[in-house]
């Protein structure tokens, strides 16, 4: 029963939602709105679960003083501090502590982390783009054309580079992305059908 009931719920839910899509009747619309409400409620619980899991993980690390426990302590303090600022010190208006901490602490920290990527990408591009084979040379040339063609100085150096860069994005790039997109779409469709029909059961857990 522990397996049959979830499988039955999945099957009925999936089939009802497929049929519902093609029936614009009021009852069908009410069912649809009800399902949407439920989805958002479940989404809210996922957030609670996430916070719970984060707290448990870091508390455990601090308690056992595992390697890097100091960072876990900072994470927990940050969580508590933001919650207190948001709940007890005037909510989330831009002049209140919650938003001030966000603007002057979280904002520069996250922006700095992402900015470091520019340096690593520069170093990785220098080491990875080598004309080792015909295919690698094609990749190298495409990268150089797009990199130069996408910035204003490219047109100053050689004006046709902008046209070539746009052509690369509009045709070869789009063809490849569309092929991947179609593959992913068909994969999602077949996986959804397999789940609804009970062929794919890994979401139930329990190994096999």
């Amino acid at each position: 029963m522990r397996r049959q009931i979830p499988l039955a719920i999945t099957f009925i839910g999936g089939v009802v939602m497929i049929i519902q899509y093609f029936i614009p009747h009021q009852i069908s619309q009410e069912i649809y709105r009800g399902v949407l409400d439920w989805q958002m409620i479940v989404g809210g619980f996922v957030l609670v679960l996430g916070i719970g899991s984060l707290v448990t993980h870091h508390t455990e690390k601090v308690k056992r003083q595992k390697e890097g426990w100091g960072y876990s302590l900072v994470a927990l303090l940050g969580l508590v501090m933001m919650a207190i600022a948001g709940l007890f010190f005037g909510g989330m208006a831009s002049d209140k502590p919650f938003m001030q901490i966000f603007i002057y602490a979280q904002n520069p920290i996250q922006a700095t982390m992402f900015s470091l990527l520019a340096f690593f990408i520069a170093s990785a591009a220098y080491r990875a783009f080598r004309a080792r084979s015909f295919i690698a040379t094609l990749l190298l040339l495409a990268a150089i054309i797009v990199m130069i063609g996408r910035v204003p100085i490219g047109a100053k150096i050689w004006s046709p580079i902008r046209v070539i860069s746009n052509w690369l994005l509009d045709y070869p790039n789009m063809v490849a992305k569309r092929a991947i997109g179609l593959g992913v779409g068909l994969g999602m469709l077949s996986t959804a059908l397999k789940i609804i029909l009970g062929i794919e059961r890994s979401y139930l857990g329990g190994g096999k």
Binding site: R33, G43, I103, Q106, A111, A122, M147, I148, V151, R162
Partner: protein, 278 residues
């Protein structure tokens, strides 16, 4: 180590310093090179420009501080364009909770510049988890997903929301994003409810969305800082993106220069080895 090997293995610290210098100097002393406007940016601009005062759009600011450098100027550009034309803007942030802060910053700044009033000229809906479900709910009725706005005012008490029920009452949904949430907007809001979608994304993500441009699923696309700078040029309000383009110019040139140096070293080194072997 011979000269060719040296050309192929320049110390990464030298690269890092040169990249930093190439970005900082143009910021201090701008080159102000002309920015060419691409068709995907122009299409989005023209779509918004064709709207009449009083018409409404939904702007979903689905980015957080990590991608702010590229996405924030896009958000400001679109908000300035809309506010300048008297277009009403509903703003939400569905990708991550941190996006709320950046969205509020953009909205407050643009509203202050154009003296726009909350509830009359714009509404900030805020964040709700499960973005797919929220997008579908908004397609039925905005009040299902957001009974109150971000500041806790009931939707019934917001003057701007009178006559706005769902996507049918909006002219376009625009998402500015540093994540894959655009696909969800295209599929759920565009596909199911038929509302036109426009997008702004980081430069590394832009190549993923040309397929939607060609199929007409996206009205227009702003790609990275360049897209934001193009939009600033179109609305005649040069700001952060335009200033940043000079740094990007120099950094791209420098990276290409090092790639070329590395390849010259590789090719000449290989040739020297084969000559030695003979």
């Amino acid at each position: 180590m011979n000269i060719y090997e040296k050309m192929m293995s320049i110390d990464r610290r030298i690269l890092f310093i040169l990249i930093a210098v190439s970005v900082i100097i143009p910021l201090l002393k701008p080159l102000l090179l002309p920015i060419n406007v691409t068709k995907e940016v122009r299409h989005l601009y023209e779509f918004i420009d064709s709207l009449k005062p009083g018409e409404a759009i939904l702007l979903s600011l689905d980015y957080d501080p990590s991608t702010m450098a590229e996405c924030h100027p896009m958000a400001l550009g679109i908000l300035r364009h809309c506010f300048g034309k008297g277009i009403k803007v509903m703003v939400t942030s569905l990708a991550r909770p941190e996006g709320l802060g950046t969205a509020e910053m953009a909205l407050t700044q643009a509203a202050r510049e154009y003296e726009k009033k909350n509830g009359e000229d714009y509404v900030f809906l805020g964040y709700k988890p499960a973005p797919g479900a929220v997008m579908l709910s908004m397609g039925e009725n905005f009040r299902l997903a957001f009974p109150n706005d971000y500041y806790g005012t009931s939707m019934e008490d917001i003057p701007m929301m009178r006559g706005i029920k769902n996507y049918k009452d909006l002219k376009i949904v625009i998402t500015i994003s540093g994540s894959g949430i655009i696909d969800t907007w295209v599929i759920y809001a565009g596909g199911r409810y038929g509302v036109p979608i426009g997008a702004g994304v980081t430069a590394v993500m832009a190549t993923d969305y040309y397929k939607y441009l060609q199929s007409g699923q996206l009205v227009g696309l702003l790609g990275g800082l360049k897209g934001a700078a193009e939009y600033e040029k179109l609305i005649r309000h040069p700001d952060m993106a335009t200033k940043g383009m000079d740094g990007q110019n120099m950094a791209h040139l420098l990276i290409v220069f090092f790639i070329v140096i590395g390849n010259i070293g590789y090719i000449l080194g290989k040739r020297a080895k084969s000559t030695k072997g003979k």
